[in-house]
């Protein structure tokens, strides 16, 4: 194909929101048949730019050229007309509908007054085959994997005749194997002449997949380079604007006494199936146990069981030898368990409380905050001042509502609160989800520091890099069971991936 042709050209795009310039005269060029990554931290302005291209926002200044013609894109339907498709991070699918029904939705082939399902199925099948997507048009969305659902989203854009496909953080929800397959699919699309834009903050994927990359920081284009002439380190520095260390400094350390001991936990799930199906493991002091696994294989239930949020049907949880099975969350917390929950907005913070009030969310009843019925707000503010300084939580003051803090600072506040309890066991679930590189570095540093101070840490994460960097051991969960453990020092993505997919041989092969 002719790579000299330009599919998309954005000239001097500026978009202002009250109090913030999201895009500051951005120039961006996507060539035909090219895979172009748009790299930047959260809030850098990537999504704004793509929403402008997809017609969801109007730029305040600048021009959009599609296939060499200047255009105004005043809505998603105009974007689709122009052959632009977008695969959103959060899929927009109707769960009980079939694949084909979802794809033709809004653009159904009709026979008289009826939808021609046969034709719909055929059309979907033929597109699917052409790009090697291997999707069954008659399967229902709720029965297929997340990876497959994403392919349905891709098919949807292709069915509508997209020539330019935008992927928004496409790998966030996928397993290792699924990511590899997705990379293959995207390459196929490009080979067929489609032009691809990928919004991401993951450097490794950029290097593996993209032809060129445009780095955005604080609404400005920092640089556009081809992937041949750059490397991960350089990209990271462009993205963050300073030196970045990926290495988490972690010295070898002999683990101490067993802190947490979990024995054959069983818990009923929502559909009568066992969400936990006999999970057993120990964590010693000064040790990080990472839990790998595809989302929904019992990780959440495991955390619920340990923290007392949900009752288990059988099995036991012991902390320092003391039985905590089915104790209340407060008992568990007092016994010495800190918890950094996965969803910090829903579970970690009361967003309409001040930062200071959030700092005592699970210790407010302690005598240090008043011995009587009344809360000693002075003691609370003093503690908050101390923690905010120590953990570098940036805000416009401790009386600011937690809602007004950035994600990274909210997470720092939670970590400060949980570590201040001086727990023996710290549970961290997806502790860096949605954070930018600077904050990730900080969170990792703190977790390793806590480990070095002799705390036992249970880390649940979907980011393999994170698991490898932090864990001493990695356990893989599949369908409510631990498939096995791998040594974090011998990195083997392939095997870990197979175990996450439930492959028994891979687990046994490890021995």
């Amino acid at each position: 194909m002719d790579r000299s042709l330009t599919a998309v050209q954005l000239k001097g795009i500026t978009k202002r929101f009250p109090g913030l310039v999201a895009n500051d005269s951005i120039n961006f060029e996507l060539k035909k048949g090219e895979i172009h990554a748009l790299l930047g931290e959260n809030g850098a302005g990537k999504s704004t730019l793509m929403n402008i291209l997809f017609g969801l926002y109007q730029p305040d200044e600048g021009e959009i050229w599609i296939n060499g013609q200047q255009t105004v894109i005043d809505g998603a339907s105009r974007a689709i007309e122009l052959g632009i498709g977008m695969v959103h991070q959060h899929f927009k699918l109707v769960q009980p509908f079939t694949v084909a029904e979802n794809i033709v939705l809004g653009n159904e082939p009709v026979k008289g007054l009826k939808i021609d399902y046969k034709l719909a199925n055929e059309k979907v099948r033929s597109i699917s085959e052409r790009y090697g997507l291997k999707v069954d048009p008659q399967a229902r969305i709720k029965d297929i994997t997340v990876g497959m659902q994403q392919r349905v989203e891709i098919l949807k854009t292709l069915y509508r005749g997209a020539e330019i496909v935008i992927f928004d953080e496409p790998t966030a929800v996928l397993t290792v194997q699924e990511i590899e397959e997705l990379i293959e699919i995207i390459r196929n699309l490009a080979a067929e002449g489609k032009s691809i834009i990928i919004i991401t903050h993951k450097l490794k994927e950029v290097m593996a997949l993209a032809d060129s990359v445009t780095v955005i920081r604080r609404g400005k284009v920092i640089k556009t380079v081809t992937t041949d002439e750059t490397n991960e380190q350089q990209l990271a520095e462009l993205m963050v604007g300073r030196d970045v260390s990926f290495e988490v400094k972690k010295t070898k350390r002999e683990p101490g006494e067993v802190v947490l001991s979990v024995d054959s936990l069983q818990m009923k799930g929502e559909q009568g199936k066992n969400a936990l199906n006999g999970v057993s493991f120990n964590i010693r002091s000064g040790e990080i146990l990472g839990i790998a696994g595809v989302d929904g294989n019992g990780q959440s239930e495991l955390i619920y069981a340990i923290t007392g949020m949900k009752k288990v049907d059988s099995g036991s949880v012991k902390l320092n030898g003391r039985d905590l099975t089915n104790h209340s969350p407060r008992d568990v917390s007092i016994a010495g368990v800190g918890h950094i929950p996965e969803d910090r907005h829903k579970h970690g913070l009361v967003l309409d409380f001040s930062l200071s009030e959030n700092m005592i969310l699970n210790t407010y009843f302690e005598p240090e905050f008043g011995r009587s019925l009344f809360i000693d707000y002075k003691a609370m503010d003093m503690l908050s001042d101390k923690l905010v300084t120590e953990f570098d939580v940036r805000s416009s003051g401790i009386q600011t509502h937690a809602r007004a803090l950035s994600g990274g600072n909210q997470q720092k506040a939670i970590i400060a609160r949980e570590l201040n309890k001086d727990p023996d066991l710290l549970i961290a679930v997806q502790p860096t989800r949605g954070l930018d590189i600077g904050a990730i570095e900080y969170v990792h540093k703190r977790l390793v520091q806590a480990r070095n101070e002799g705390k036992a840490i249970l880390l649940v994460s979907f980011e393999l890099d994170e698991l490898y960097a932090l864990s001493d051991r990695i356990g893989v969960m599949y369908e409510g069971k631990l498939m096995g453990e791998v040594d974090a020092e011998q990195r083997d993505d392939q095997q870990l991936g197979l175990m996450m997919a439930g492959n028994k041989q891979a687990a046994e092969g490890r021995g």
Binding site: T307, M309, S328, P329, R330, D331, V332, S333, I334, H339, P341, K346, H347, G348, L349, V350, L351, D352, F353, E357, L361, N362, Y364, F365, F369, G370, L373, F374, I375
Partner: protein
Amino acid sequence: MDTVKKIFNKSSILVPLVAIVLGLIVGAIAMLAGGYNPILAYTSLLDKLFSTPYNVGEAIRAITPLIFTGLAVSFAFRTGLFNIGVEGQFVMGMTGATIIGVLLDLPWYIHAPLAVITGAVFGGLWASIAGYLKAKRGVNEVISSIMLNWIALFLSNFIVAKFLVEKGQQKSMPIHDSAMVKIDWLIKLMDNARMHWGTLIAIVCVIVFYIVLWRTKQGYELRAVGHNPDAALYAGMNVNVTMVKSMFISGVFAGLGGVFEILGVFGNQTVMASSPGYGFDGIAVALLGGNTPIGVLLGAALFGGLSYGSAGMSFGAGVPPEVVRIVIGAVIFFVASHGLVKWFLKPFLNKRASKRKEAA
């Protein structure tokens, strides 16, 4: 000082004020459409409110129960519960006070407090039923408390008619004097307006409301549950118990409102054809007051003042009380639609902001 600022920040005071003005304008239009003179009507409303000590006293009497029910709705709301059953809890409070006031004969320093406390506890327990059902069985408190309103009304009527009735009347025997909480010297001072200690208790409750929610550990819990029950659960709070507690306290406020209507104003309880409506007005008061204690006090004053003054409008300008209800309705409508008022204010505020920018 900070708390004062918190209560009186610019938009929290400006929006209700503008809403009230807009409401009065809509009311004026309604009166003009009906052929009445709005200026005369509004002046006679003010005249009715402030002309004589009797009228001032009676206006305060009308405002008092609204403070209680407004606090009741607000308190539950702060914990994330919509207590629409304040009406029923109010009626139960009346009944509790009547039972003690009629059946027992005690020295005043025991009788009156006992009657007050019994009524308050009746209200609290009645509300706790809805709280318990919500906590244990997930029953929506709006539905259950509406139903409990009806049960309260007819249960009260039954108790009055069966056990407390004055022969040949549709009302209870009179409350013993030892249980009454009228303030005789003030009544004389206000030309026989029905003044009672309940008004003072209402003011105390405004303060208690603030202290409980913003100064105690219990209040911290209540607010945490109200803002984010999931996070409260993660932090080890017992969300279910907290909900029941919140409903109980809310019901105590409501019950006290009913208590003082009996012990302070009427001195007996009638067999009611329909419930008195203070509870429902309390929802409007809570809304007017933005669920803050001071706001409730002001909202109750406005709401009660308008209701009481409406008699003046009919008398002085011939405006039917229905139109007064239109005015009140319009005020609530504009307060409820914050967005609408802010939208109305936007051009003014923007102009001011840009002027400030130019100046700088």
